[in-house]
Symmetry: D2
Subunit: 357 residues, 4 copies
């Protein structure tokens, strides 16, 4: 029944339900001597905080993080870092309409199948609030990566049929629009698309793309703990993700070897690749190029239309979901993708230090 | 540096290089009392054995498995099962042309970057022969799954632009053609396509699709050890896989919630879904429908054209690869996908037994 | 650097420093449906709470536990249980006399050697308050064990030269005296001994004995994860423990096989043992008899005498420790031994459920 | 059911039964670039090989190790090292007298209780031959430790009532007598004692002591993965060990703080301890002094006297064990204690490398 701990040496244990007292994470295995503050972590949390735009739930949460252990005089001590965010807006409203019904597209049925019952308030452990622990822990991982010159940034690259135009890619734009798209024109179009869906009581899927720069070569382990395998594990564990790809991803199906192979060449005494179809990973280890990964997020399952479903005691019924729900999951998940990527890479960098040299 | 052990309770430790004495796997955590024989495991290994068609290397290996421990009088004893396949065709030919050069698309460079040197004979640990341990262990997992009525089968669903036609889907066809495609017409077309690529000294990517039937609901753990997360981890760890998707996968990007949600209904006292966009997994736990996953395999990087690259001591050069290489990876990897799926699901079924009820 | 997570399926992650905001534990892998309350956990915590007798520090802490997640309507949900105890009495007094000095017998020097610096306030992570997380988590494990009819109790069996008399053994006496001894006469003698040591500004070692009744046979895994190996791991991880023994323990050195072997016999259709030299474990698995283990606790290293030592910057010096310190560690550690025993056995019982039958 | 894998980063997976085809180990996580040969490993195996004296079984096994993977041109490659020893003397003699009976002091009953049946030939997985994998893997760990200047040696320090005299301690004597005692006079006395026991169809317990020199300070993790906790885990997992102690061990029960604390002083710019009651470990981390640990081995349970016991189908009976059995376990286990100590320390040294500095 265990499954809320992630990592090989840098281990994160997250906990908490949507409508419990608090949510949090404990990070075991963080090196000593890193500068960490609540402000630093808060910056990441603020990017997934609700209520920041029309595309995000109006739940009023400040999501303020507290560091409860593992940091002394502003530096990590090498012992577990306990992070907590209190749930302040969990006035257990009226759950009578979902308590005894399985919402389509949600984990209600599978939780019941597994455990015999569930904490039905706001999705319980399967709520998006579960990702707060991931993001807080991811911030700690980011501070490890800074020591190695590794940077990570993600953004929404597609919503419905609307993709960003690579020629208009503007990294600076990402944090300027509520959909976290690096192309203002695409953002405007996506925004129109979402407005129509909202009117239609519907929701949209989206693609999140994540780039890692400054990667040293040789990170990741051959065979099972390949860097791409660990990334796929980490990213697919984010609720609503249905697909993960590295580099050219699914396009390799149509590719030929002569097109897909990245040729090597020397530049200033360093091995470089002319192209990056591999997405920065060869044989499960980083090849020194940027890592490129993409995650497909399904549409928010909570839509305000009437849907057919069944009750917990086995009768056919209909449900009409109410309350606060985002019409799209991906924008607030951008920082979650960054966090899981950071946790994975920081972990494998620490593992890689166990070489003799 | 550790990364060759997979699983939470059902742990597989694989070992071996392409041109070492042998390759193998040790399975720790297999329940006692299962009927297992070398013949049973051999059937799976024979499907990945080389030399069976024009699309597979001519390396003459019988890949005969030996059970060295953990089975007594035909039954598993509950103690580690050690499986070994000797390498018989590893006459260390002439490796002078790859010893000091990084082959594009291979792990030569990243192994050197990580370890300072590498076993260059036939790719060493990054060779496809590494998957023998996976397949042998996967056969043991299959025998666990038989106890629970779970069945797994995979096949090639796309090669280049040629996809199988769902209306012509014929499960019985899969083992009848060397490309393991469930559609004879698609197989013929793909076969032509590959013949042209071989003439062109090129290779092709492909898609493998895997179906799991008979799944009980509730398998998989919330949060990090979601069933889909563990499957993505397992499948992406197979060499040459660049993308993994569950259910509708990447198509969810374009979907809306009203289309993507699977409505529930009752049938004979059981909860059923009208559609299966979820691919059998909701909130990281099996929902009782068939599990559907797909993996994208890149084209074989070993192509017989001249390619630009660099030497291990940092000079630009050209390489022309010789020897025995498949023009497509996916067909022989079909059984590897099945094996990794089996190991993952059997593991999580065992973990799930730790409930009180 | 990771090392604060214990368990195979029932995983406990503890966190917190003596003078941080709080201490706590997260339990991942607890089965769903168990009745758990703060009151239930509090009873265990109260037994290690300071200030309850002359042999325990006067630090005024209520050590009140809060359940932050994983319990819904009084029952475990199967998701992580987060437990927290706030530190209320950590007015950062004056640490100038220990900040730059390594206290003999403490972990000051080794923390500095490992991490380059340390949280010197009250011992930081190496404080006895670290065991609060263990005891709180152990209470949850106890409630799992109740489902299986397993009971655990521990007590102080020896202090200095004063051992309990087996003929006077009275289980009911244990909770009646502040030294948790099951023999009132021995308690009185030990009490006198401790009073003299206190006058002498000295401290005493002691033995804790722990009994597990109701054990089913076959719990524990052959080879590395033997039940006794996991118990030794768990018990030796408690600060101040320097030795662990099972059954006859060190006495086996002088024993002969004919004396040490426990003969089997049948009673009411069950396999029984005439003696229990094995302490309930054979070949690393429980044999159905009571488990007997003992742990030797060293004397409290904080004594109020002047001691020679060195400074953090490498000069010889003297130290005279002040403040609140128990003259003996073992009595308050009795419940910690119970907790670690419970966590170990509950974990291995859950692992054992992964058999086919 | 899993329990045959040991280690955090340096993971050893052992396999094999007494009368199966072979026994072995797979080591995952060994750094690349170490010189390793079959000769190097064989030296360790030869010390546990049977048939070398009157106190060891006459089973004729050469116990010749083969390296099957992970070593290329004499150096470790960073990938799994597979080691195998074939069982050559397993002519499945006549097991009719133990097949259906539980031998007292053995794991027969507990194996049956756990798995429903057992491989009864020579003890199956619970045979002493299981330690071959430990010793072979331990040799690899020793070669890691050599890089750090760490040395490990163990010996028998007590048999029955006969202890070594510390004043006569002679390290050079250890390998000169078949009881591996560092005191020739004690060896002669112990030898007489054992001869009498053999005549009496009886067996003896013994103590093994192990010393680790050259330890850097700061190895081991606070809280659960303390160096002493991991050592206790590793050593108690050796069959027949019933107690483990570090430094003064059980004597701390009678000690006072003023006697037990080791005072620090400076010498040539290094922190030293005047005494070593701690056995080289403070707060779970190495303190730079020698590590001292002791393990109590029970008497061989296979004695040639008639013993009362029960049958697998639940009837009272008598058994008279025949065959080849050592009258004392400890001498051949000396190298097993060294191996488990080496694996533990090498593992924690590698884990410790994940610090930032």
């Amino acid at each position: 029944m265990s499954g809320s701990i992630y990592g090989k040496l840098l281990k994160v244990s997250t906990w908490g339900e949507s409508h419990g007292a608090a949510v949090g994470a404990v990070i075991d295995g963080c090196p000593a001597g890193l500068a960490i503050s609540e402000e630093y972590i808060q910056k990441y949390l603020d990017r997934r905080k609700p209520g920041q735009s029309e595309y995000s739930t109006k739940r009023a949460e400040s999501d303020t993080v507290k560091i409860l252990s593992g940091v002394f005089e502003g530096k990590t001590t090498g012992t577990p870092i306990s992070l907590m965010v209190e749930n302040t807006s969990h006035h257990s409203a009226d759950y009578s309409n979902i308590k005894d019904v399985f919402r389509p597209g949600h984990a209600d049925y599978t939780f019941n199948a597994k455990y015999g019952f569930r904490d039905y308030r706001g999705g319980g452990r399967s709520s998006g609030r579960e990702t707060i622990g991931r993001v807080a822990a991811g911030a700690v991982a980011m501070s490890i990566l800074e020591e190695y010159g590794v940077e990570i940034y993600a953004y929404v690259s597609q919503i419905g049929d609307i993709s960003i135009d690579r020629d208009r890619f503007d990294k600076g734009e990402i944090l300027k629009n509520p959909l976290y798209m690096p192309d203002h024109t695409a953002y405007v179009a996506a925004s129109d698309y979402l407005d129509k869906l909202i009117q239609n009581k519907d929701s949209s899927g989206a693609m999140v793309e994540c780039i890692v720069t400054g990667m040293p070569a040789g990170i990741g382990e051959p065979v099972f703990d390949k860097l791409d395998a660990r990334l796929a594990y980490a990213i697919m564990s984010i609720g609503a993700v249905k697909a993960v790809e590295i580099g050219d991803g699914f396009d390799v199906v149509k590719a030929t070897g002569s097109k897909n192979n990245d040729e090597f060449y020397m530049e200033n005494g360093e091995v470089k690749k002319k192209t990056n179809h591999s997405g920065g990973i060869l044989g499960g280890m980083s090849d020194g190029s940027d890592i490129i990964l993409r995650a497909a997020f399904k549409p928010t399952p909570s839509i305000f239309r009437k849907q057919k479903t069944v009750t917990t005691d086995g009768r056919d019924t209909e449900i009409e979901i109410k309350g606060r729900h985002d019409p799209i999951i991906a924008p607030r998940a951008v920082v979650v993708v960054e966090a899981m990527t950071a946790l994975t890479i920081a972990d494998l960098i620490l593992v890689n230090k166990s070489s003799l040299t």
